[in-house]
Subunit: 132 residues, 2 copies
DNA sequence: CATATATTTCGTTATATGACGAAATATAAA
DNA sequence: TTTATATTTCGTCATATAACGAAATATATG
């Protein structure tokens, strides 16, 4: 396993990270690829500071990683880990049909496609409308 | 999935059940078969009431089941569940080499073999010494 | 029946956790 | 440089959780 932490501590960090509905929703929302914090925040409808804390917990557990691009920070699943692969497989198998997760999925598609000017990530470098 | 609970609630109950070191130790201790509460209590060196609570949480999460035999209550892993199998496989792969878990394993073998008269489960119906 | 043993339930207490808002930080746009 | 946007950090508060001891419950033994 990795360094620093004992195996127990590593597993425990993952289990604690999974032991919250909003963090499970975040993990499931990252199935299809990266999302920036503001998109996740929009989906969860929580305070940005709260979402930031959730993401930190997931990151410290080794479930996700972040990359900064311009003003935005994108989070992705850390799929190259011996820990996260079985965990995510189990979560996907168990939660894909959950109503909250399904609702999130629909909402996310809307957030990613429509992305109106009022929303965060308005001026995305790649393909956003630039009008304020 | 099962009844009553949503998928999310079911997964959450499992994750919360796993998010405690003593409950992980209990689950790992049940790898090799059933144990009665007093044996688990001896291994963990916690108050019986605390162990009882941990076992209740694991049971309500669907990770273990109990069967009463005489004065004793034996707990076993619930291995016929689509939830517990992948979870336990992951735990076994991740925790078998952990030092605490290894120490528990040694201790449990001692508890199961020696089982001196002072200990709990003194007068086991199957093969215990009967002297008080 | 009285006693000892095994386990659970209950009440209490200390700590952990999740939520928020305000303030700090960083980066891009005007 | 000033302003707006994106995110994090910090402090606070309410709730959840883990531990214990005492008491209750159940079952076997004397």
């Amino acid at each position: 396993m990795t360094k620093y932490k004992t195996d127990m501590a590593a597993v425990l960090d993952i289990c604690k990270a999974l032991a919250d509905p909003n963090r499970l929703r975040i993990l499931m929302s990252l199935r299809d690829g990266e999302l920036c914090v503001c998109q996740i925040t929009e989906m969860l409808a929580l305070a940005p500071s709260t979402v930031s804390k959730h993401l930190l917990i997931l990151k410290q557990a080794g479930m996700v990683e972040s990359s900064k691009r311009g003003r935005w920070i994108y989070y992705t699943l850390l799929v190259d880990s011996t820990q996260t692969v079985p965990v995510m497989n189990w979560l996907k198998a168990s939660l894909t049909n959950d109503n909250v997760i399904k609702r999130d999925h629909v909402l996310l598609k809307k957030i990613l496609s429509e992305n109106p000017t009022e929303l965060c990530c308005q001026q995305r470098t790649t393909r956003g409308r630039e009008q304020l």
